[in-house]
Symmetry: C2
Subunit: 314 residues, 2 copies
């Protein structure tokens, strides 16, 4: 890999070079990651300040359709848009859930767009340790809008909130009881709620929107806007697009993002370095044997490892 | 905290002592975690070999009702059951999503049961680093069945698979397109699929069950059972209970669990120790300042930190 050449191609807007670079950042291989870091250091990152938007919501509410429609507005305005989807891949095989599904077909064919699923790898620190770099790469490649979609609820969603300037929860008319309970937990992270599918039941959508407004009031989020739209017919989408356009990012939040990324990298780098070091790789393997022989519990083995590393006072 | 006394109370079946001990393991405070580790070391863990079952499925399919009904069969058989729910708490406030919802009311009142939501904390290694210890605590307290419920899809689900002997996916009649896509990703981890809510539409449930069987065949999981039930009426639940009863755990899988726990603890212990060490806490803070002044990118700051720690060759 020729890093300076790759940098040049990325800045020129070469999507093949961009895709290749993202693969380096997402790789589990130490040598790829080293190249990825080199690349980030050489790129003019932080100069193009894009809009970083995060989207989440339960399966079936139409997140992809919404993002594709929004992407259409962005490209129609002659701006470049990158869509990154956090894809909770299988922990056992590393296969991608979304990989086999052709998503956002129209948008992904547009010359101003770049659509890419990012596997969350099923290992700790997966999304958080690679996604921030991927966002910076896309910015260096001149994308004005970075839309990050999280599939499902849970850990990856909490991590996503920390990576974006603005977090939108997508809902649909008349959500069930358990959905409400889950949403209550993310409500406090939410910067906007969009009730999609008004084409299906506008009346119910209005009731649902009001329910969200009430719930937001309870948790002190009365200023969070709740909007309605149909990603299918496009109704309401232009207003939402203009809302995003008028929103400027918060420096404090971007600083939090950098700090969070740093702390996450400390952990994942430690794991990577330990696992690739011949001596400690062997020590860890020996301690695992001891655990399996039921001579030590895992946390006792960790204490032992840290003692062997000489970090008793760390 | 008097550890020997706490141990004694746990082994005697005192649920207040158990709850208190779980809180120690889940605590973010270094001193609580130290006590929790001490407790695990003193308890007769690994002697009572319980059944560890994991449950997941999209919101609204009736996971809690299913688990409550199953718990009813277990307690009717005079066995003790612990229900642990992985609760994707808010990363910002640490508040619990499920905490405000009274769940499994009948089961939680039964003297042979113990029901407890466990916050996943919204930080890396949250569930994986505390849940294994919580499972061991429940086993030491004499629970014969440990039922762990994961809310939603994603990271916490992949981690759950690694912690249990048997993983059941709960579905409902006629799932939507996106649901199918997500389920395809977890299908390979699944040991059984249960289509719930046959009281609502038994015909559609049969079709859904057949669709899952076909999907399982495609990925080479033709031996995975697909069952139907109604957690509401209880139909089919006795057969499922008996199926779980007849299933014995696999030593290899428990070994994988121990190894995975160990590796996860190495990371989280490292983070905790670094964060609580006066010198390194200060160094990290200084590097954060450098990052915020845009003088270093986070991964460059990590390299710098490891250099200062003297781990250049690690």
């Amino acid at each position: 890999v020729n890093i300076p050449q790759l940098c040049e191609s990325i800045v020129k807007g070469d999507t093949t070079a961009l895709a290749k670079s993202i693969t380096l950042l997402e790789s589990q291989k130490e040598e790829d990651w080293a190249l990825g870091k080199e690349l980030l250091s050489q790129l003019p990152v932080g100069e193009n300040q894009s809009r970083r938007l995060g989207f989440s919501g339960p399966p079936g509410v139409g997140k992809s359709s919404f993002i594709e429609k929004l992407g259409g507005h962005i490209t129609a305005g002659a701006e470049k848009v990158a869509v990154l989807a956090i894809d909770p891949s299988s922990g056992r095989t590393g296969g991608s859930i979304l990989g086999d599904k052709t998503r956002m077909e129209a948008l992904s064919r547009h010359p101003l767009s770049f659509v890419r699923p990012s596997p969350s790898r099923g290992h700790l620190g997966g999304v958080t340790s690679s996604m921030p770099g991927v966002i910076l790469l896309c910015e260096a490649a001149g994308y004005d809008w970075i839309l990050v979609e999280s599939v499902g609820v849970g850990q990856s969603e909490v991590e996503l909130v920390q990576m974006v300037d603005f977090f939108t929860l997508i809902a649909q008319p008349g959500a069930g009881d358990e959905l409400q309970a889950i949403k209550k937990g993310i409500l406090e992270h939410v910067d906007m709620i969009v009730v999609n599918k008004i084409d299906q039941d506008n009346k119910l959508a209005t009731i649902t929107a009001q329910q969200y407004l009430s719930a937001l009031k309870v948790i002190g989020g009365a200023s969070v806007p709740v909007k309605k739209c149909s990603a299918l017919t496009g109704e309401g989408m232009d207003e939402i697009y203009q809302f995003y356009q008028s929103h400027s990012y918060d420096r404090g939040r971007r600083n939090e993002f950098l700090t969070h990324w740093f702390r996450s990298l400390i952990q994942s780098e430690f794991r990577k370095r330990l696992a690739s070091h011949p001596k400690w790789k062997k020590e860890i393997h020996q301690l695992e044997e001891t655990i399996l022989q039921q001579k030590l519990l895992p946390h006792q083995a960790v204490d032992e490892l840290f003692q062997r590393l000489g970090w008793t006072n760390l």
